[in-house]
Amino acid sequence: VREPLLSEKGQETVDVREESPLPDDLTREELTLPNPSEPETARHYTRLSQMNWAIDAGPYPLGSCTMKYNPKFTEDVAADPNAAIHPDRSERSAQGVLELQYRLQEALADIGGMDAVTLQPPAGAAGELTGILVAKAYHEHHGNDRSEVVIPASAHGTNFATAATAGYDVVELPSGEDGRVDLEALEAAVGDDTAALMLTNPNTVGLFERDITEIADIVHDAGGLLYYDGANLNALLGRGRPGDMGFDVMHYNVHKTFATPHGGGGPGAGPVGVVDELAPFLPTPRVREAEEGSGYERFEPDDTIGKVHGFAGNWLVLIKAYAYVARLGDEGLADAAAKAVLNANYLAERIDLDVPFGPFHHEFAATAGDRDAADVAKRMLDFGVHPPTTKWPEMVPEAMLTEPTEIEGKSSLDDLAEAFNLAYADTDEALDSAPNRTAAARIDQVGAARNPRLSWQALEEE
């Protein structure tokens, strides 16, 4: 089931200068690229697609990734040609887009308990950076230079990288014995240099930070801000709002919470919500209602950090999030959270692996104990399911971080549990050699990094 590279199916070299209207010294000599016919192109990508797991193929219980079903109708909504206008349209000629942006901003603000929202960040990590830059601008505006961002050890890698990108030193907060933030350790870590604490809640093993009010007080008392990483918001929908817990700034992962397709690695969208005090620092432009009856207008927040995307972010993705929220409504959103939590708890009950921490919500970190979690995962592939996230977070040895989301039903969870249990109980040999029933057998990832071949040109040189 190997599909040749497009280049192996035939390339063509064009003499660029032959027909160029430009002088030779401004042009390249030639261009060599594959030149398939449309049927060949269709077959190539159809075959490639058939070698790829997807949420429409089966369960995808990657913990912290929240892979849920992407309603098909949202694709149709976003495919409206009127959505795809040029970003430099005048305000008066772009009212449709501005109105829909405004509506989404409002809905997200409500859901997060925030006062103001920007849709500009093109992904969750970009949202994090936006949020931290807003926090930084806020501190600077108040003449308050701070150099550190505090982050729990179990947090997403993006939190650390984001803080560094924004120019902050990272203070890593060790997890408490119960898997949550240790208030004493937090007290010790937080101080005059603390710009912000970045926290996700429920955290990355699904535990709700019960002391969130105390945590917020500690950070706020030190003059810091509380940043909410929206990665786990799916577990809170309609049950709790970051704004109500004392968070000052947050991002939303629309593919995780609002069912936009992940597309094999994007495009995502990472809107950022803030409390009133931080609103003046949001990226420009934002959208608001214009004077009575005159539609919507763009405006530049007074102390804006500027821009985090060349234009308005991944607009076509955001439309899908709007459609999803509208489809579910209040009760649907709350039910999504309830079923996500129900599913995680039921699945944990059915697997033979230990789950060290609880009570957890939408995801749990099981431990493979003395088995290699990555091997167990590879073996699960042979049983026709996708395995969970492995070996992370590190607080759980040989972690298998599992998040079935609300879309799986009981029988699907039973199948998943069976795959878990079969793989976990399998022989060392079986685990070592897995997978055997997939399009490719176990792939040498170390070799790939040791001898990087990153293009067909590199392969041709061999």
């Binding site: 497009l6 430009l22 401004l26 042009t27 261009l31 594959p34 030149n35 449309e38 192109t41 990508y45 159809t46 797991w53 997807a54 429409d56 909504v77 495919a79 959505a83 795809a84 430099d88 005048s90 772009a94 449709g96 409500d110 093109p122 992904a123 990590a125 970009a126 890698g157 993006t158 650390f160 990108t165 924004a166 120019g167 709790g240 817990m245 992940h262 094999g264 994007g266 495009p267 420009t284 500027g306 821009k307 985090v308 995307h309 972010g313 991944n314 607009w315 709007y322 509208a326 489809r327 209040d330 039910d335 079923k339 399009a439 057998a441 040498d444 990832q445 990087p452 990153l454 040109q457």
Partner: protein, 442 residues
């Protein structure tokens, strides 16, 4: 129907829910939530659930409130005709509803497509390494600056950019630079392209990166790229070139003019204008391989010795390296990269070159026609143009743009008397109308 008040996307019947709760040993779903009452939410958002048909109607109605204009707009963001096959293939659920390829054994399809995308950019840039996407041209430029900061051991902290640069691009760059204590400064331009002498004068030890664009934000083809590269070299600064995939198919190879990094827009293939949604192109010399931001797909072998693909050099990335990662990027624009790759495949090199040549010819022809009108001069810059050009109008530019809009055409008003016009294959058939409208309103 029986699930009317819950999410329509969860399959649980009431009986199943009850069985599952019993298995867990709790009475209801609420018992599974460990949220202290003090911070629990018991209000509502006031969002009424609607049917999919209602939402389709609602969104179509709202979006239809934007005017129906022929868009002669560009300035860094371009739409070309995207063949139907691109939608049909990219929309296949196995691509669209998949996650990042952490389990390569069941992700060979997407990995190979991204590997092919990287290869296409290697051909177009002449550089050894291309990642499999950044968000857009602006963020790719920001990442180039942080790369420069990492790979240049000079004391420099200045990034030099052309004075004519899209404001949004500069604003994004500044945000990326701020964290690394870099500052952004400009170098002057003459008649639409770099004033290389002035640039040479400015470039010194404090410069860590020199950025140039071709075509520029005004559509001018930069004629002295190699000279700019030399200036950067002498300052021991990184030379980063901004362009886009269509222009790269005919313009001088970046590798030939000494570019260390190429950034820009790859979404001019595969995407409609999409209110600014883009695809960040990022390629660089092999020397910087371990400092590249973003995802990389590499070839390897599986246990049977067959060629296979995998994400590679992940130790550069945030999920491994945390605060020492080469970037905080995680989710990128993979599916958009897939679209661009499919679009490029449907064009082939000849189609791509034809498209690019038309970008030159159409801009030249349209500029000449508008330039003949009384009250207008075009192109303002005595340069070769790609897709777009600037027009000087006697009347106030804002008023002219507004009048043209009333006639059904969108153009950029740059400042008091400058209008910018962009023409692509999508608008080439509407230039008669635009010229007439210009004649009308000037």
């Amino acid at each position: 129907m029986s699930r009317a008040n819950g999410t329509p996307y969860a399959p649980h019947t009431a009986e199943e829910t009850a069985e599952m709760l019993a298995e867990i040993g709790v009475d209801d779903e609420a018992a599974l939530f460990d949220i202290p009452e003090s911070v629990a939410f018991d209000g509502d958002f006031g969002i009424e659930p609607r049917t999919e048909r209602e939402i389709r109607d609602e969104c179509a109605r709202i979006l239809n409130r934007s005017d129906d204009l022929v868009e002669f707009l560009g300035r860094g963001h371009y739409g070309h005709y995207v063949p139907s096959v691109v939608d049909h293939l990219a929309d296949r659920a196995e691509f669209l509803t998949s996650y990042t390829q952490y389990q390569p054994e069941v992700s060979q399809g997407f990995l190979q497509a991204l590997f092919e995308y990287q290869s296409m950019l290697v051909e177009l840039t002449g550089l050894d390494v291309a990642n499999c996407s950044m968000y857009d041209a602006a963020t790719a430029l920001g990442e180039a600056a942080t790369l420069a900061d990492r790979v240049r051991s000079t004391s420099g902290d200045v990034v030099l950019v052309p004075e004519q640069l899209r404001e949004g691009k500069r604003a994004v760059l500044s945000n990326y630079c701020a964290g690394a204590d870099m500052t952004v400064e400009t170098y002057p331009m003459t008649d639409g392209t770099a004033d290389v002498d002035a640039l040479a004068e400015r470039a010194g030890d404090d410069v860590v990166m020199v950025y140039a664009e071709s075509p520029t934000v005004r559509g001018c083809i930069e004629e002295r790229l190699a000279a700019i590269g030399d200036v950067a070299d002498e300052a021991d600064a990184l030379f980063t070139l901004g362009s886009d995939v269509v222009a790269l198919s005919v313009l001088e190879s970046p590798e030939r003019v000494g570019a260390d990094v190429v950034v820009g827009e790859a979404g001019s293939l595969g995407l409609p204008t999409a209110y600014g949604m883009g695809l960040g192109l990022f390629a660089c010399r092999g020397d910087f391989l371990r400092q590249v931001p973003g995802r990389l797909v590499g070839a390897s072998e599986d246990a049977n010795g067959s060629r296979a693909y995998t994400l590679t050099l992940q130790t550069r990335e945030q999920h491994i390296r945390k605060e020492r990662a080469t970037s905080n990027i995680c989710t990128n624009q993979a599916w958009v990269a897939l679209r661009a790759a499919i679009h490029a495949a449907t064009l082939g090199p000849d189609g791509l070159v034809d498209l690019a040549n038309d970008c030159v010819r159409e801009a030249e022809a349209l500029a000449a026609r508008i330039g003949e009108l009384s009250g207008a001069a075009a192109p303002v810059h005595d340069r070769h143009h790609f897709r777009e050009f600037v027009v000087r109008v006697d009347q106030p530019a804002g008023a002219v743009a507004e009048d043209l809009e009333a006639e059904g055409f969108a153009v950029h008003a740059l400042d008091d008397h400058m209008i910018q016009v962009c023409v692509t294959d999508l608008t080439a058939g509407r230039t008669d109308g635009l010229v007439s409208a210009f004649a009308e309103v000037l």
